[in-house]
């Protein structure tokens, strides 16, 4: 990341929102709002003296709210760019940070949101995914029992840079657990929740199990409840074998209920061991839930800004699952990483490199070829010059049509994808789709119904 930041031809804008995207491939205009940090980027050296002076602490969302951070802080230790920011929701405006900053004068409490407009040729969406928090599933007791964690929370505990400096402790009594149960497929592969497989949970579940064994050896007993262990990528199966050789207890079965012992605060997990074919109960001092990857919170809003589609699972949809895995229906807009569907790091890196190459291919060409099936307006028939109409503008999913008052509607051929919705909606029949004209389709209908029409079912389908 640091290398990218220092590249003379790369401009990194963080802490910002996309407000509006206009235009088409090669000519996008993107309106960006840079949110205020209350610290001037060009003056902040990232020394952290302000943080030491700040008296306010609040839960650190980077540590899944397990640790604390100051009201003036950086998002996390390796953050790029290294610029401090003030959370005004918690800041009490004591201005101790201003004093600590001294002659550098980097802190500016009057900073306002700044809007900039960028002109770009292509866009790559890499907004990632969120992780499901199973508060709504009573089976696991997440949120009710202190010693039930999600895998991300556990990851912060076992990381050396985490709030406990790598020591796994229980929230109820601060002691190290002697037995840990890891439960896979919480939310994923569940017809009542998220039907898809989140893909990478098996690997991080195995990783947490191995880390526990490496940290505490025989002092910790690890149980891993799974439906199937899916390790198809390079080197993954070997990792699974290593976990088995380390003495981790693999139990094939999905827990039906987790109960807490009120005295010891230990957790009793009820499940069916499907290899034994009988119900079992396991007592563990800590439970870790490997929860599903879900579409990120702003995905719906971003989809409407960019005019891109989302699948029934809520992730952004690619143009074609096999042949166009990075493209979107909008020319010049590409997808990479978990915003398109749950995926692990190697897969995301491969897709990101692919998307960058696709984007560069467009930018290196002087011309852009479009499908010939675009729509055109018959200026003589369009009623917009006489009456305010604009039905076609509303019907176009790609924002390709403009209808200025008093002038006939105009279709931007570069933005038109040839769906034909405007053609069917136009009350004046003023729009024609090339190669799918009304005359052509009506002739097909007439030919199809030439003989025995009453015995036939005429079907209209899209070509996808």
């Amino acid at each position: 990341m640091v290398e990218v930041l220092r590249h003379p031809k790369v401009q990194v804008i963080t802490n910002a929102d996309i407000l509006k995207v206009e235009g088409f491939v090669g000519n996008f205009r993107v309106k960006v709002r840079k949110n205020p940090r209350y610290v001037m980027a060009e003056k902040c050296t990232g020394c952290g003296e302000c943080k030491d002076a700040c008296p306010i602490e609040y839960p650190n969302e980077w540590d899944m709210n397990l640790g604390l951070r100051k009201a003036i802080s950086i998002p996390f230790d390796q953050a790029v760019p290294l610029i401090y920011s003030i959370n005004r929701d918690y800041c009490i405006e004591c201005f101790k940070c201003v004093d600590a900053c001294g002659a550098r004068e980097a802190i500016n409490f009057d900073q306002k949101p700044e809007e900039v407009e960028l002109e770009v040729g292509t866009i790559i969406v890499t907004t990632g995914c969120d992780i499901y928090e199973p508060y709504d599933d009573p089976r696991y007791g997440y949120g009710r029992y202190d010693n039930v964690l999600t895998a991300l929370e556990f990851e912060r505990l076992i990381t050396a840079g985490g709030p406990t400096a790598g020591h796994v402790v229980r929230a109820s009594d601060g002691k190290r657990p002697k037995s840990v149960a890891i439960i896979q497929c919480v939310g994923s592969r569940d017809v009542n929740k998220y039907e898809y497989c989140s893909g990478f949970c098996c690997m991080y579940g195995l990783k947490e199990a191995i880390l526990l064994k490496e940290h505490y050896h025989h002092e910790v007993e690890v149980y891993l409840f799974y439906i199937d262990i899916r390790t198809p990528s390079k080197g993954y199966e070997e990792f699974y074998r290593r976990a088995r050789e380390m003495g981790i207890n693999f139990i094939r079965g999905k827990p039906s209920q987790i109960m807490e012992d009120p005295k010891t605060r230990n957790l009793v997990i009820r499940a069916e061991d499907s290899t034994l074919g009988q119900p079992i109960e396991v007592e563990a001092e800590l439970v870790v839930l490997s929860t599903a990857a879900i579409p990120s919170k702003g995905a719906e809003e971003l989809a409407s800004i960019l005019h891109i589609t989302r699948g029934s699972d809520g992730f952004f949809m690619e143009s074609h699952p096999k042949l166009k895995p990075m493209e979107t229906p909008m020319d010049g807009v590409f997808l990479a990483g978990a915003c398109q569907g749950p995926k692990d790091i190697p897969y995301s890196v491969a897709q990101g490199s692919g998307a960058a190459a696709k984007a560069a291919t467009i930018l290196s060409q002087p011309k852009w070829k479009i499908e010939p099936i675009v729509s055109i307006v018959d200026i003589a028939k369009c009623r917009n010059p006489k009456a305010k109409c604009g039905i076609c503008v509303k019907s176009c999913p790609f924002g390709a049509i403009t209808a200025v008052e008093g002038k006939p509607a105009q279709i931007n051929a570069a933005q038109c994808h040839g769906c034909g919705t405007c053609v069917a909606e136009c009350p004046q029949d003023a729009i024609t789709q090339m190669h799918f004209t009304d005359e052509q389709i009506l002739s097909q209908i007439r030919a199809a119904l030439e003989r025995d029409p009453e015995d036939k079912i005429l079907t209209f389908m899209c070509n996808w």
């Binding site: 034909g420 009506l442 007439r446 029409p453 009453e454 079912i457 079907t459 899209c462 996808w464």
Partner: protein, 130 residues
């Protein structure tokens, strides 16, 4: 091209020519459409048209909007089989009678479309074979 392209006139023309049934199969609602919202526009348009055709005397099972993805061949077969069974249950006479009743109104609706030829009753395949 999308089902959003299916003009009301296409359906009207099909029934004017005496089609037994008209089926529109689109991508699944709400967000499976390759063209973002073409299926939603089509659904709104066809709901209005279906209501009108039924008022004019068309049996509802003769005009349907269904959602079938390109990977759901079996579902498509099932829908078509179901629809043809329903048409058989209605009977040929009923379909012909409904068509005769509808035709004047539909012809009137299609007036603005140029060069719409009168339906020429070509001999049926079975008759031609004889």
């Amino acid at each position: 091209m999308c089902t959003g392209r299916v003009d009301r006139d296409f359906v009207i023309e099909a029934f004017r020519l005496g089609a037994g049934g008209v089926l529109i199969t689109a991508c699944h609602l709400p967000s499976d459409c390759h063209y973002i919202s073409g299926n939603i526009r089509m659904k709104a348009r066809m709901d209005a048209l279906a209501g009108m055709l039924q008022k004019l005397g068309l049996s509802p099972e003769r005009f349907k909007v269904e959602y079938v993805s390109s990977a759901e061949g079996e579902k498509f077969v099932h829908i078509v089989k179901e629809m043809s069974a329903q048409m058989k249950a209605l009977g040929k006479e009923k379909i012909l009678a409904e068509n005769a009743k509808l035709r004047p109104t539909l012809e009137n609706m299609l007036k603005r479309k140029a060069a719409a030829p009168a339906p020429v009753a070509k001999p049926s395949v079975q008759a031609a074979a004889k």
